[in-house]
Subunit: 391 residues, 2 copies
């Protein structure tokens, strides 16, 4: 049959795949030949969802809970999330402001969808989570990556916001803890940035999907700063529920009806089963298991950070959260992508190259994820050491 | 705390909520006071997901399958869907062309996302599924609703495509069976419309989410017409899996890589658990249950269609599929929305007013859904009869 020439929308030329996928495919090909690979490239917890959460899903299945929920989520789950803000942060967040979404991805699409017009700008840190700018692109808005480095803990700052905010800017997207750097934003800086945005008629959107995985200091949620900013969260990381595709948005009151409308139309609702399961994520039993996993992550960080520094990787900021180390590898290479491929081939260690996180010197950086056991991390470090000695 | 004035994106002024939600809220309020309401407004099967599918989910939970899948879906599920096209339609659809998505909503967003530029037009039938035009709006494209009526079975036709296609048109969205009318498009007409679109460098996007729920004649899938059009399907309707949020896109080969890229960025993947459950949807055991439900729907249609006609509703086309009857109520009212509210208040029957389905004389129409038992449908008809007698 004749192949029709493909008219592909212009946006797709700007929407990049995850470059690590090529590396992952190569890792899997090597594994298929019997090679053993240490995976330090994977952005999801290695832990299976805790049994009490899975058990709740099974009970929902037995009870026949397989129909749609309201677009904004089960009332009981919105209540539970509200309660979580109260117990964790002492914050009062009305359940009515909480919109349950298909993953944090769904929450970000809703936040940008109700807020940002075509041509308007959203400031975001570079390096940052790669998908963020593509959501803006989908809406014909402009994601303006602001280069950040160790001098600001790889985060946007009040000064950077003032410097880069223009009349076209409508929002700044912050991530605390950040992917790929694991750094957090202090409460004072967050409040200052909120004031700067508010004065200019703009909003902060604060990605807190790695909340719960914070190892140093006190975690502050942006919900404590103001009711007038957007907060995105997820059951994926701390709650170890990646495959369930469940997150939430805390929206300013004036935007809730709009977010509901948009969710009705483009999602209908998040997975019913995932929502019923998530109700069990806040029980003491589940929290105890999850906090144990968090302690494991801390232990891994406390091993991997000094070990990589010892090998010569430059990690000037000790990340307080998430499960990533963003390492400057310019001592070894001026092309982190080629380096990552070579390390995979020769040492059997998979690492994500910087180019997946933006345009700010990606060739200098690698992201190490400690989403595998301490024993495997030790093995990975040994292999890297041997590789660097022989290089 | 001072409420900041809300900057709401312009698109939100064009994105409408489901008007039936207001009616549903009123129905629930009445039920809370003890009133009994016959629900004929609900667009999802009343049947719980068959036990073998729920059992497969439980096995996946026990096996700890809670991590992300590839963005395009589990390979085994893409294979199973490909096999389904072979057994149901004798069609060869390469698994590589099948992208598993979070509901048909996700599939439509991918199809439009890879295909349609801002300002380009997508033709669609009016009346039609209300969300469709909002997906186009989200992408800053134009959904052009083409008024259709009983003379074309409420469907677009080759002649209508030729008449409305402009240099800005890039796609036509068809739905067979259609929501809200339940009518199907014949294979010849579909082939003609594909030729018309292809000659103009455009594409058909064919929504087949009600496939499997076809009661008369032979079901033809658009995949049999050409490899060069997009087909959207879902596990929600025939497979009774609404709350699982699982669908799929069959894309022309040249668009698969683009759809994968977009899915990676905006969804990550569909629910892992839903995908494992869906693997059990194609077994003989599940199919037997599902075909029993389909026969129940047929029986309901065969009761409700003549019963509503008997009452004086004008339903010129006997719908061959889905679970809807789109009824002209202009004999009783010139405002179907007010009529639906009055019927709810006085007769305790909930029906969806036409305004949820477009701008083509919505005030003349009501959509009756036969997603409740035959006994309840009989009760609903009795109540309507009494209401109309007393009106």
């Amino acid at each position: 049959m004749r192949r029709q020439s493909a008219h592909i929308a212009h946006r797709m030329a700007d929407i990049e795949p995850f470059h690590v996928m090529d590396l992952l495919a190569r890792a899997q090909a090597l594994e298929a030949t019997g090679r053993n690979i240490v995976h330090m490239e994977i952005g999801e917890p290695d832990f299976v969802t805790p049994a009490p959460i899975r058990e709740a899903a099974k009970q929902a299945l037995d009870a026949g809970k397989t129909h749609y929920t309201p677009a904004v989520g089960l009332p009981a789950l919105r209540e539970a999330i509200s309660g979580f803000y109260q117990t964790e942060y002492g914050a009062s967040v009305a359940p009515e402001r909480i919109v349950v979404t298909p993953g944090a991805s769904g929450a970000l699409l809703l936040a940008l969808g109700v807020l940002v017009n075509p041509g308007e700008q959203v400031l975001m840190a570079d390096p940052g989570y790669p998908c963020n700018r593509h959501f803006a692109r989908l809406l014909e808005a402009e994601a303006l990556g602001v280069p950040v480095g160790p001098e600001s803990d790889y985060q946007l700052t009040p000064a950077l916001l003032e410097q880069h905010w223009t009349t076209d800017t409508i929002a700044a997207l912050l991530a605390s803890p950040s992917n790929p750097t694991g750094t957090v934003i202090g409460a004072d800086k967050l409040a200052d940035m909120h004031s700067i945005a508010a004065k200019r008629g703009g909003r902060l959107i604060v990605d807190e999907i790695y909340h719960g995985l914070i190892y140093d200091g006190i975690a502050n949620s942006a919900v404590c700063v103001s009711d007038e900013l957007f907060v995105i969260n997820s059951f994926s990381k701390y709650f170890c529920m990646t495959g369930w595709r469940l997150g939430w948005l805390v929206a300013p009151a004036d935007y809730v009806r709009e977010a509901d409308k948009l969710a009705q139309n483009i999602f209908l609702a998040a997975s019913t089963l995932s929502q019923h399961a998530a109700l069990a994520a806040f029980t003491p039993e589940s929290r105890e298991i999850l906090n144990g996993y968090r302690d494991d992550f801390r232990q891994r960080r406390d091993f991997l950070l000094p070990a990589l520094r010892e090998l010569g990787f430059d990690i000037p900021i000790a990340p307080a959260g998430a499960f990533y180390l963003y390492a400057d590898c310019s001592q070894f290479t001026d092309d982190s992508y080629a380096f990552a491929l070579d390390v995979l081939e020769k040492a059997g260690v998979a690492i994500t190259p910087g180019r997946d996180f933006g345009a700010n010197q990606p060739e200098r950086y690698l992201r190490f994820a400690y989403t595998t056991s301490l024993a495997r991390l030790e093995e990975g470090v040994d292999r890297l050491a041997a590789y660097l000695r022989s290089a």
